[in-house]
Amino acid sequence: MSDFSMLEYGLGTLQALLIIVLSPLIVGVMRKIKAKSQKRTGSGIFQPYYDIIKLLRKDEIVSDQSSWIFRYTPWINFVSTASAAFFIPVFLVYSPFGVVGDILLVVGLFALGRFFTMLAGLDVASSFGGLGSSREMMVSALLEPALFMTIFVIALFYGGTNISTIVSSANDMSILIVPGVLFALIAFFIIMMAETGKLPFDNPSTHLELTMIHESMILEYSGKNLALMEWSHAIKQMILFTLFVDIFFTWNFVEQISLVGISIGILFFIAKVSALASFTAFIETRVAKWRLFRVSDLIAMAISSSMIGVIFFFL
Amino acid sequence: MFDTAFSSIESVLVVSLLLTPVISGLLVTLLKRKRIIETTTVISSLLILIQGLFLLSSILEKKSILIFDGIFYLDSLSAIMIITISLVGFLSSLYSVNYMGRQYEKLIVDRQKLVRYYQGFNMFLFTMLLVPISNNLGIMWIAIEATTLVSVLLIMLYTKQGSIEASWKYLLIATVGLSLALFGIILFYYANSVYDNSFNSIHGMDWTNMVENAPQFDPNLVKFAFIFILVGFGTKAGLAPMHTWLPDAHSEAPSPISALLSGVLLNCAFYGLLRFHIISSHSIGSGFSNTLLIILGIISLGIAAASIYFQKDIKRMLAFSSVEHMGIISVSMGFGVFLGIYGALLHVINHAVVKSLLFFSSGSISQKYQTKSIADTSGIIKTMPITGFMFLIGGLAIIGMPPFNIFMSEFLMLSSGFSSENFLASALVILFLVVIFASFGKHLLHMIFGNPKSVMEKGDLGKLSILPMVILVSIVFIMGIYVPEPLQTLIEDASKIILVGGANS
């Protein structure tokens, strides 16, 4: 990995920081759009930042049943998720850290975070946490094949699981017309919704045990830990959005490094991501939460569409 | 005639070998004291063993011995039999001291019966020794018939209903079978005497003579005769479906006698079969008799497999496993390649060793638990650790678990089965072996492990009951990975004798 200049490493870090820092903004944007489409005013798009800062300053209450798992989970979760951000190109076609790990590693890091989150849900001896973990277990277990199939399709089309490779080759060929990728796109979108706990999979905004998955796991958190949890959730969502746009809407990456190019790239990036975010939010306002056992149908849809993608590649 | 007869040391040995049990039998009859008759029998059987070993050595150097102008003929094949008989005979005489002693103490047998037992024991040894030594097939037949009669007497020792029934069935079935065999013998004799028109000459029935003339025999006659021989001696050797007497007789006899019956007597009958197998191979090639042997062997395996699974009685189970192993021997013989025959002869010895080990231990066990039922016997390893261990080893050996001796012979058998391209037969054998493995293993585990049904004091039944088992177990272990050189050469010679016929098939 010595064939990158110091500058490029700097830029890579910048990309990661962009994802980490901008993630609450996207959350805010989505909330705003939801509110608008529900004929509410809603809070400002920077509200998530205020929430996080506020929470970081608060004292926290910890269940006396809980163990160190509960206490360190937010940190582990945040670290694993945030580190995943380092492998994602944002405005460059590559990430200088791409050599270190590929999309499978990113998935693995997410899984690590999720693993500990589920444990944390079980750690406090409440039935809410168990409920959340149980559902999360199911969803994530079923999501895994869809995810890998999609990755397989992408790897087939863009010749690699290394994200930089994928993005650069995606950038080279304007690939959207190929049906296989279209199917991959559908699958990826569904997966994205599921992973980030959006409707119809999960409804984080109601704290009602019938609907919630993710929220009930982190129900016991407060203060710093809650902030970290929320933030890392936002980062995860941001990363998935970024991946999505990187792979499927690959225009205006910075070809040669210049301040202007980079700033344009960043702007384009924000535009793309917020567009995607608003689309997602729009979808969310149009669907209702599905029954838990119908969620598997959606996931099956994702799997099958990516299978079709595979077959399209081989035809 | 005698000065010529006794010229060679072997003739002396043979005569003394035959006389020893007779003399000891007479001694037993004369002096009726318990201790003395026991010691006499043990000593005589030890002598027999020693003489047998001497004979073995002399046979090893000069491959075949023909004495008393051809009444007695010994070669490696008969040497194997003699060694097996004398070994098992010695050990079971040793074991009977303890076993019958207990029966005596428990007043199951009185003094007179004890005397009858030891008389019978000696006569039994005598008759069985006569079988492999005699060259004249008529005499051999008579000897085998005599073994039946003597062993019936031994089974009749108890006056239980079971023993009456068993001995009646045994007597009837064995005699019928052997008369079939005699029919076959007469036919062979006819074939032989027709050839060299030597009607009513004593040598017309000599095996050596027949083997010489065999190629000139009328093939159809030989086939016809061999079937009678097969069914006849097969009945005595416990090949299914003529095996039906076997489980009853073996389960009702006193354990040392069961050991002799299972370990040796069956082999004697099979020896008779083998002799004619050789003749017919010489005359019409081994293909014919091999096929028949394989068929009967596989049937025996199948029936044994079926019967062992549902068995409720320890000794009956062991008896059926004898059927199985006779089946294995005959199949392995029937594969008709050197390795298979080698394996079969090795298996004769191994089976004798293991089966007598099992019968000894099961005898002690049923004496301890006072039942032969498998269901009521459990936790042996706790109540009688040493015997239990022996029984475990024996059981594992008999179901063909390495590193015990049976595995080696079965390994050889299956290898020969594949290499002689009897794939179907070998597959069936493997299948049945696995079934038997499962069923026997089930019973074995249930009996040895777990907790005993009722609380009984811990402890084995005396040194004299353990000693023979220890000897046998050590043999089992040694033969498991290594066959001693002399035995190897012996078995190789014997296999060559049998295989010769196979050449022109």
Binding site: - | V152, M156, E165, W168, T175, Y189, I202, G204
Partner: protein, 225 residues
Amino acid sequence: MSDLILPTQIDLLHVSAVILLVATFGIVVRRGFSDWLHAYRYQTIILAGVVALIAFVTGIWELYIVSALTLGIKAIVIPKVLFYVTKKLDSPIKLEINPYVSLRISVIVSALLVTMSYFMALQLPISSDKTIAVFLPVSFSLFFIGLFIIISRRKALNQIVGLLTIENGLFLFAVVVTHGFSLVIEIGLMADILVGVVISSILLFRMSRTFDSIDIKNLESLRDD
């Protein structure tokens, strides 16, 4: 040697063969214990005669001894022993009440067996001179009828008789085909048979003492189910 046989002798052979068969059928058709023994005795006497005849024909002096032995042991001693046993038996009824195969059918079956044995005799590649031609099938039929008796009857005594019939068949076969074994073996055989009979009569005693009948339906306790 066929030229040695005079017409009278041939008739003799035929007659004796017929009597042999009749005696054997006698065992089949009769119910009473003693009847069987009588029939068996006649059978054996004829047999001895046949042996003597063959001895005369072939001029093998050993066969005379053999026939004498037969007469002595098989025709006199063994029936005596068995008569004694039957007398001593506790069981009141000394009859075969209900055999597995009814007498009528057994006769038919034995007839079939006789024919079968004639065919077998034809099948066998045995160079046939007159004696053989006459007696070979007879010996077979003795053999098979004996087997059939053992299979079809319920009384232990009857089975012994069947066994003895088989022996006779074998004996006849041996004498006819190979002019008997050598003397040593004959004696051995006789001894074996004698001992066998003695043992089985002991068994008969024990049976009748334990089950107060010699019906073998009592002997079905040792089985697998």
